[in-house]
Amino acid sequence: MAAETRPKRPTRWHIGVFLAPALLVYTAIMILPLAGTLQLSLFRNIEQHQIFVGLENFRTLFGDPNWSVGFWNALRNNTWFFIIHMLVQNPIGVMLAALLSSPRLRFAAFYRTAIFVPTILSFVIVGFAWKLILSPLWGVAPHMMDLVGLKSLFTPWLGKEQYALTALSLISVWQFVGIPMMLIYAALLSIPEEVIEAAECDGITGLSQFWKIKLPLILPSIGIISILTFVGNFNAFDLIYTAQGALAGPNYSTDILGTFLYRAFFGFQLQVGDPNMGAAIATMMFLIILGGVCVYLFLVQTRLRRYQF
């Protein structure tokens, strides 16, 4: 914190004072525990002592079928969870934003506000509300499908192994579609008028204007949304936990890394919680998220930068 640029003041204490509280809390509660968790994954509790075991926990995680089956299952489910978000949430978000940003659209503020409502609700509300709606007991979903003549297609999706994860992913998409919508909307609004006018002078309007002019210009925002989705999805827990419980039923078919970590850490039914294995799983999640962020920073963003204004 030494002064160099402003020679009059030898030590500018106020910089330290301004920075200290944020740095202290952030370092103590976030960075150190993160590092501590990574470190814990290298230890194991043997007769009440934490013993350094190197990568032994990871060998258990990948080698012992008791763990590895669960881990790969969670990772696979999590990847599917992410794919659904990328394929459904982000295109819908982009489409809604494109429609919202069309000039002189009436009620745009109303649509914007209404579509963002699910995003502010907690997972507990969302999970339970959808559980009730999809419940065959209440009959709202079959009743509504009956109205359009599709009643035969109804099954209790959340209770069937082959559908539960997809159904939950779509619920999560329903909840979070507001975020890509808003970010893309902001990006579309920031496109300079001249660019659009120039395109119109050349006769490029409507859909082709969107594909040829606007889409390339909002690619950086789509990149940001993708990485936000990635981080959010590989860190998800709450929705699965509220809708399906910690066991992520039916038969672990909706188990994702967050719920897997929770069970490993806290234990469930007969298995005792194991902080070290929990730390090992958290470390894997950390590496996955870090990998995604690095791919984004070094591959995606550098290529996209040239489109920015």
Binding site: M1, A3, E4, T5, R12, H14, V17, F18, L19, P21, A22, L23, V25, Y26, I29, M30, I31, P33, L34, G36, T37, M95, L96, L99, L100, S102, P103, R104, Y111, T113, A114, I115, F116, V117, T119, I120, S122, V124, I125, F128, A129, L132, W138, G139, H143, W174, V177, M182, L189, S190, E200, I224, F237, D238, Y241, T242, L261, G278, A282, I289
Partner: protein
């Protein structure tokens, strides 16, 4: 803008799609709130119609308010959210000011260090956070939650606020310096009032995930005394699986405060997002 982009079929199409999606977005919320005011027969007999005098019933609400300790949970959530918000905004603004106003060695490194937390979720450190809280005796206290949420909110707050603080005019600050104001006075008296709109944006962004979080209350403060409303609702809903009136009423009670706050602040929130706060 030009008129070339407007045509009637296209406008109608846009409205049709947006209306459909609005209906999809609002339907579950409306359905839950609507049915929470009905009797059990009304809920199952005609779930899609609004409550009529015949089906109107507040039994769900009386059950929830009689059974659950919701007022208490609500207070806990309020304390945690307001306190965390206060610290995030204060500490975040101070750090953002230091980073955007002064040039010092390690400035950009410090910025990068603080930005790390935007991408890496604090949840991954849970194992060690719990150990830390156990060691310091903070388990099952609201303090633990406030600390965690403050740390969680800081990175984004510093990032957004420093973007905005760069826009505050240098002339103004320098005029203050010439008048002999201390750096602290300049920050609290000149800069903070000017960035108030962006503070509101950060506040909304910070508040929603804190209020809605289930993970940390579940792990750090699950005791009856310290339950937040989200955790309380989760447990309550788990217990009353068969009492549909109570479930729907509890859901509605959980939805409404957030919804009311959102309607009040939505302009602020949306302006914050669209003004390029998140780029």
């Amino acid at each position: 803008m030009s008129t070339a982009t407007r045509s009637l079929p296209r406008t109608v199409g846009a409205h049709a799609i947006l209306l459909t999606y609005t209906a999809i977005a609002l339907f579950p919320v409306i359905l839950v709130i609507m049915n929470s005011f009905k009797s059990r027969a009304g809920i199952f007999g005609a779930p899609l119609t609004p409550p009529t005098p015949k089906t109107f019933d507040l039994i769900g609400y009386t059950t929830v308010i009689g059974q659950g300790d919701f007022i208490h949970y609500f207070q806990n959530s309020l304390v945690v959210t307001v306190a965390s918000l206060f610290f995030v905004l204060l500490f975040g603004a101070m750090a953002a000011f230091a980073l955007s106003e002064y040039r010092f060695r390690g400035n950009s490194l410090m910025g990068l260090y603080l930005a790390l937390g935007i991408m890496i979720p604090i949840r991954l450190g849970t194992v060690a956070i719990l150990q830390l809280m156990v060691a310091s005796g903070l388990v099952n206290t609201l303090t633990a939650l406030i600390l965690v949420y403050t740390a969680q909110g800081l990175p984004l707050a510093v990032f957004i606020l420093s973007e905005f603080m760069k826009q505050v005019s240098d002339d103004l600050k320098n005029a203050g310096r010439i008048d002999g104001l201390s750096e602290y006075t300049i920050f609290f008296r000149l800069v903070l009032p000017l960035v108030r709109p962006s503070m509101a944006t950060v506040a909304v962004f910070t508040m929603i995930p804190i209020w809605n979080d289930l993970w940390f209350p579940l792990i750090l403060a699950p005791s009856e005394e310290t339950k937040t409303v989200t955790l309380g609702a989760q447990l309550f809903l788990g217990q009353f699986v068969t009492n549909w009136n109570a479930i729907l009423a509890a859901l509605s009670l959980a939805i409404m405060p957030v919804l009311i706050l959102y309607v009040i602040f939505s302009r602020q929130l949306i302006r914050g997002i669209t003004s390029g706060a998140v780029k």
